[in-house]
Symmetry: C5
Subunit: 88 residues, 5 copies
């Protein structure tokens, strides 16, 4: 899973029926060691994340475990992060 | 999922039977923060997307949820985007 | 799925039983916008593709839909391309 | 699978129910030939790994084999490495 | 699938039970056109490959087809390569 930050959202009326009622948030992937942003993508919110929050994103078929196995989803927000501890 | 723009299409007569009757569109992946285009690939259209439209693409086995679990597809257009909101 | 060109083949006598009798072709991935070649990899041919032909390759578990769900395959050629149309 | 080193952990109270009780560790992916660190990500610990330990990480749906097929997990620590032998 | 060369192995006593008895080899991914080595990773050997041999590696859930669907494995060696033929 990767650590990211919610930076926006996407609205779409015409979509796969499995996406109806699901919040589509834009997440910026963070390189936690250099504290820089990398690419960004759209993930389905399954835990009530809001803009600016630090989140954990799961990709691939595992994303469907939290958003519904019958949902056409390959990225899901699965946690809102309280703290990150790095000890190198 | 990633945000992309439809820039063309592919025609193939000789193909896996599961692809028959499916529209194969070329989608340019967009970096929505720098508003630049990255790589492009072929995705099955499942929502009636047209050329130039901004779309949401799902990858991997999740793409088969919208194009049919018995289809040899690893990328599917699952939404036509109305609006993108970024609040950094 | 990505667009590629068949540039060769691989022969292996010692292999997983699920690969027996399957043609293992080397496909060069093409960046269709800059018309340059990127990486290359091995894909199972499921449509009778020949050397030099432009093909469509499906990756991951979806590749097994065309080559057999019980085959240890993560890339399959699923179409021979007739035409590519780009309208930017 | 890739070889990595545990460099920290993540704490999240609000999360997918399938993540409850699971240790979320930050793993730095290592390029074992140049002995340099690449990206880092979060993996579920399934073998009792501690900070600073060299581990083996499995990605994708295969990660769910060790963390539970009903867990929203795409990366799992599946071994603590005793030794690495390179003979080029 | 990608073409690689076996360059070493990994030993781990503490590991997921599904990895017990499986040979964990380090494979260097080869760019067959420029004949240079790219990244390296750990793959489960399922065909008796030895150090220095050129092999074919399958990734993701398809790797579990050869190493056992209940194994926490995302990369498996599925063939020992006899010959590579490139005709550009």
């Amino acid at each position: 899973m990767y650590i990211g930050r919610v930076i926006g959202n996407v609205v779409a009326t015409t979509k796969d029926s499995s996406l109806k009622g699901k919040k589509m948030l834009i997440v910026e992937k963070l390189n936690i060691q250099s504290n820089t942003a990398e690419t960004s993508e759209v993930a389905i919110d399954t835990v009530g994340a809001g803009n600016g929050e630090y989140v954990l994103v799961t990709k691939g078929s595992s994303a469907r475990v939290s958003s519904g196995m019958d949902s056409a989803v390959d990225a899901a927000i699965v946690a809102i992060i309280d703290s990150i501890e790095i000890e190198k």
